[in-house]
Amino acid sequence: MHAQTFFIAFFGLAAVWFGVAVFRTSSMVRSALALLFSQTAIGAMFLAMQTEFLGVLQIMMMATEMSIMAIFMVMYMMDPGGLGAMEMTHQKRFSIAAGAIGGGAALAVAVLTPWGPVVAQAPAAAQQTRALGLELLGRSMLVFETAGVTILTAMIAATAVAVRRREGKAAR
């Protein structure tokens, strides 16, 4: 029990630490790597919380997603290496205040709410995966299918937005 609390707190701290590091470095590659480590620490938190399937899924998904993000960042940033020490922030005071107020409010809710009895034992990993599969193909099937269709729509929309327009069409 104590070990679980320790590992959740440890990986949680790592996730927040790397989350802060994303905005503290000038190098875009370092930012992407910090976000990758932050998301991986969250995956490790899931594993510590005995949600094995979600933990592995999180780590695999985010490793791919952040690698793609790093490529895009290097492509689109004026100074991807951060060697020119460019200023890439604005409205800093307002942002710090908003972040502190938002985070503080969420923290207050987390600490002050009486959450009721906490369940000590999670279902076994195999049972969780089976039950989640049944949930996906049973009660939540419509939600699951909607998510799939939404992904397809987003892929088509993203491609349509990103594709180069032909000169004739652009002129019309």
Binding site: I8, V22, E65, I68, M77, H90, A98, G103
Partner: protein, 103 residues
């Protein structure tokens, strides 16, 4: 055990705060997307903790986590599509230079 739940929720709150700061303070579109990713990551942590410690029998909680992961992937796909279009049109994805997008 409540300590484990609180530790997870505190992590979620901190990630939300850091992400909100990032999304509001950065001038680059890709960095703004990173802030939004952190905000959604905070939501993920909270949802997983609620499922594990409060309702481990209700698998709709895990389903909700999958939906948030889908939203993260969608945000990335559409965001990079917009970034590519913007970069083609203006040669930059700096939001300071996107004043004409104001309504």
């Amino acid at each position: 055990m409540t300590a484990a739940l609180i530790a997870a929720l505190v992590t979620g709150a901190a990630l939300f705060g850091v992400g909100l700061y990032g999304a509001l303070s950065q001038t680059n579109l890709v960095m703004i997307m990173m802030g939004v990713e952190l905000i959604l990551a905070g939501a993920l942590v909270n949802l997983a903790a609620f499922w594990r410690f409060l309702h481990p029998g209700a698998y709709a909680g895990q389903m909700f986590v999958l939906i948030v992961m889908t939203v993260m992937a969608l945000e990335m796909a559409v965001g990079f599509g917009v970034a590519t279009a913007r970069f083609r049109a203006k040669g930059s994805v700096e939001m300071e230079e996107a004043g004409e997008l104001k309504g």
